[in-house]
């Protein structure tokens, strides 16, 4: 049991180390100093209180999309639709934030909840299609991503503004911005959302590990026939799993809409928050705590990468390659797992 736990810990750590090594080789080959490069990366992420704040800010939505995908995975579903759920959550949060006038203790929770509901509804569609008609959720969620992206753009242009590309800012009563957190981090954009994200992680852990709801969801994910035999409603559980996963992603949208930006703009392409969430969930071994750590790693990498061109003269394209390599090794953790097992076997 304990060696098993060590193992699940070892795999992601090795993935990250190998990704960094591969990145170093790329830098060497391209004529840059990897030590300088990684120093810049470190400084970009943790160099001062401002960057720390920004790293936390960047990690916040990753936690939520990571949870979303991890939750679906644990119940036997592959939610590639986190991306679309983020977008509709973002839109809903900003819409409520702009359109309604209410005191903060009503307005802010309302906007946050609206985002969760929007994400949940967006995921309800692939859920019900899977449960009732057996349509694979991967296909539907991918399609739903595009529908979310283009519909949202259209709503921003035609409904929320007249032909503009950015909505007006949400009213302060719906904002997650935190003055004391900002002042502590030299006016970074860090906001209260991080607490929502961490709380969501606790919620996910609790649902999955402690409740009859989680017991049913996992059971249906593992074995639909046995779950049906045991008297569980398989269709209901598939839909419920997608809706909960979608709600997490919707909240990630609220983090951007109510925290970081305070508005929503027409997007030329996906935010990638949802897609990166897949890697976060994998790296975090689909556990709540693992996702939190993985999300911080991702946030740090993305934030720190911004410093690499200025700090070490490494072009942004190369930075993207290095990040991609780390993600690649994380995603191929299966391979690393296999290699470790192989060594273990021979060692005996």
């Amino acid at each position: 049991m304990s060696s098993n736990k060590l193992f699940t810990l070892l795999v992601p750590v090795i993935s990250v180390v190998m990704g960094l090594l591969a990145g170093a080789i790329i830098m060497l080959v391209s004529g840059f100093n990897p030590i300088e490069g990684y120093t810049a990366l470190w400084n970009g992420a943790f160099g001062d209180s401002y960057t720390v704040g920004e790293t936390i800010r960047r990690s916040t939505p990753y936690i939520l999309t990571g949870l979303s995908i991890a939750f679906a995975f644990r119940t036997g579903l592959f939610n590639i639709g986190a991306e679309g759920q983020v977008i509709v959550g973002w839109l809903a949060a900003v819409w409520v934030g702009v359109a309604i006038d209410a005191p903060m203790y009503i307005h802010l929770p309302l906007a946050v909840i609206a985002a969760g509901i929007a994400g949940g509804l967006w995921a309800f569609i692939p859920g019900i299609l899977k449960a009732k008609l057996g349509v694979h959720e991967v296909i539907v969620t991918i399609m739903m991503n595009y529908i979310a992206l283009f519909t949202t753009n259209e709503i921003i242009r035609k409904v929320l503004t007249s032909g503009q590309t950015t909505t007006e800012s949400i009213s302060p009563s719906a904002s997650l911005a935190s003055e004391w957190m900002q002042s502590m981090t030299f006016y970074s954009r860090v906001h209260y959302g991080i607490f929502i994200a961490l709380f969501a992680a606790v919620i996910m852990w609790f649902i999955i590990q402690r409740t009859t709801v989680g017991y049913e969801l996992k059971s249906v994910g593992f074995n639909q026939h046995a779950s049906n035999y045991a008297g569980m409603n398989v269709s209901k559980n598939i839909v419920l799993s997608m809706v909960i996963a979608g709600a997490f992603s919707g909240l990630a949208g609220a983090m951007e809409g109510l925290g970081t930006y305070g508005n929503i703009s027409v997007m030329a392409s996906f935010s990638n928050l949802g897609f990166d969430g897949i890697a976060v969930a994998l790296l975090g071994a689909n556990t709540a705590l693992g996702v939190v750590f993985a999300a911080f790693l991702f946030g740090a990498l993305k934030e720190g990468a911004g410093e690499m061109p200025t700090g070490a003269g490494i072009p942004t394209e190369l930075v993207d390659i290095i990040i991609a390599l780390i993600i690649f090794f994380v995603a191929s953790s299966y391979m690393i797992r296999w290699v470790i097992l192989r060594f273990k076997k021979e060692g005996k």
């Binding site: 074995n223 046995a226 049906n228 045991a230 008297g231």
Partner: protein, 512 residues
């Protein structure tokens, strides 16, 4: 006498357990040699050592007197050792020929696969051993018995001299078993040697020359089958006396528990499989349903338990209508179900033993309160059940997947019986289990009967039906065609009834 294969004093350890401890097995040229042992006794481990999947810590393997070092299955193949696995390793959409040549495809000079050559060769081998396999048939179109022959052909095609059969009859119908035994005989006649891994004593007596027994990882010895009998073999395997005939008193049937009237059920292809079935089951009796697989038994059980909807007819439990109620409603109204396929229906294999024990009761107190699970209560309950039902597992936290088939089944039975249902449906409750476990399960079923429960037993093993039923209902073509008492019938009569022959009114001895 020269042996084709000798495994001498083999010892194989895994962390924490000794799977094989000083086991010796010597296979003579042209014999059928049984390897007998309970589930988890170490039979598979020993054969995996021979097949090169595991390396032994001690002991040596000799092939035709020469010491060999088998480090991987390819070497085993080269030495002429072939394995017919219990779970077939076939590609369903491929034809027989494509499956057989997979991995060693004969090619023409151009690099194109020479299908014609392979086809002829396969046809020739098939004819020589009387396998009657069509080389062009698709795997998905042929029966399980035929698929097994393809596995046999595969090993022969690769030049196997020694064939290891891993519990080959577990998946076969009685007719197919009969044919398989014929094939095994013709294989040894042509000079092949066979190791038969099994725990079915009947087969050993029928077909084997010698038998090596292992118990809890230790080699117990080798006996000449002709000089032995099933009682001796069973006690060697289990380590104590085994009773084949389960002791039981005469049933005292009381009030009616289950009534089925004119039940019609369709299968997944929308074909009627249960066609107006009537059955009555009373408290305190065991009714066995005898029948050849595919005559609607599975659909009948699924309809009673709510897993499949009935087209028409009525199912009443304790005089309450439970027709087309949800599985949960049916369970709650007092039905326990030991499902036929324990991996598909009976267990969530990735859940721990404890989590599986509460599969139908997790939402009730004390296992949960206000939707929050109480793991202490769950694992306490599981602890109690594994004690009471002798489920051998490292702990209640172990995944169900890690348990042997017999222990998985005992866990399911423990779970179902513990809920104390008025009606217990046992579908093939001892399939694939060894005599020790079978004896235990039969005893439990009879105990439940004596407590006044109604038990519906569905089995394809006539022995089992004859042995523990108080009443036998023969199912043929979706109906109960006859009801007989086990003490007033014979296997022959049952066999004919199961095949659809009618017993003449008034004279049970005359069969049309």
């Amino acid at each position: 006498m020269e042996y084709v294969i000798e495994m001498l004093n083999i010892r194989k350890e895994f962390p924490g357990i000794v799977a094989n401890d000083n086991i010796t097995i010597q296979l003579k040229q042209g014999e059928i040699h049984a390897l007998l042992g309970e589930n988890g006794a170490g039979k598979s481990t020993l054969m995996n050592v021979l097949f090169g999947l595991y390396q032994p810590e001690q002991g040596e393997i000799r092939v035709k007197g020469k010491k060999v070092n088998i480090t991987n299955p390819n070497i085993a193949n080269e030495l002429g050792i072939g394995m017919v696995h219990q779970h077939f390793m076939l590609v369903e959409p491929f034809t027989v020929t494509q499956n057989i040549i997979l991995g060693s495809e004969p090619t023409k000079k151009t690099g194109v696969i020479n299908v014609e050559k392979a086809r002829n060769e396969i046809k020739e081998i098939s004819d020589r051993y009387g396998l009657k396999v069509d080389p062009d048939a698709k795997i998905s179109d042929i029966s399980v018995g035929m698929q097994q022959r393809v596995e046999i052909l595969k090993t022969l095609y690769r030049g196997a001299e020694v064939l290891i059969f891993d519990e080959p009859t577990a998946v076969l119908t009685p007719q197919e078993i009969h044919e398989l035994i014929g094939i095994m005989r013709s294989l040894v006649k042509e000079g092949k040697s066979i190791i038969l891994i099994t725990h079915k004593l009947k087969e050993i007596i029928e077909v084997c020359d010698r038998c090596t027994v292992i118990r809890k990882g230790k080699g117990i010895g080798t006996v000449n089958v002709a000089e032995s009998n099933s009682n001796e073999l069973a006690s060697l395997m289990v380590g104590r006396e085994v009773h084949f005939k389960t002791e039981k008193t005469i049933a005292q049937p009381k009030e009616v528990v289950l009534t089925i009237e004119n039940l019609v059920v369709k299968d997944t292809r929308k074909v009627d499989l249960v066609k107006g079935l009537n059955l009555e089951l009373r408290a305190g009796e065991i009714v066995g349903i005898a029948g050849v697989d595919g005559n609607g038994q599975s659909e009948l059980i699924e309809a009673i338990t709510g897993l499949r909807s009935a087209v028409s007819g009525k199912i009443k439990l304790n005089n309450k209508n439970i027709t087309n109620k949800s599985p949960r409603k049916v369970t709650e109204s007092g039905v326990g179900h030991i499902p036929q396929d324990r991996h598909r229906y009976g267990l969530v294999l990735d859940y721990s033993v404890g989590e599986n024990i509460v599969l139908q009761t997790y939402y009730k107190k004390p296992y949960s309160k206000a939707k929050v699970l109480n793991y202490k209560a769950i694992y306490d309950k599981a602890e109690k059940i594994i004690q009471e039902y002798d489920v051998r597992t490292p702990s209640v936290f172990t995944k169900a997947r890690a348990l042997s088939g017999g222990n998985q089944q005992k866990a399911i039975i423990g779970r179902e019986v513990d809920r104390s249902p008025d009606l217990l449906i046992a579908a093939q409750p001892t399939r694939g289990l060894d005599v020790g476990a079978i004896e235990f399960i039969h005893k439990k079923l009879i105990e439940e009967r004596d407590k006044g429960k109604a038990i519906l037993l569905i089995s394809f093993e006539l022995d089992e039906i004859m042995n523990i039923s108080d009443r036998i209902a023969v199912m043929f073509d979706g109906k109960i065609v006859a009801e007989v008492k086990p003490e007033e019938t014979s296997e022959q009569e049952l066999g004919l009834l199961m095949a659809g022959s009618q017993v003449k009114e008034g004279d049970p001895n005359v069969i049309e």
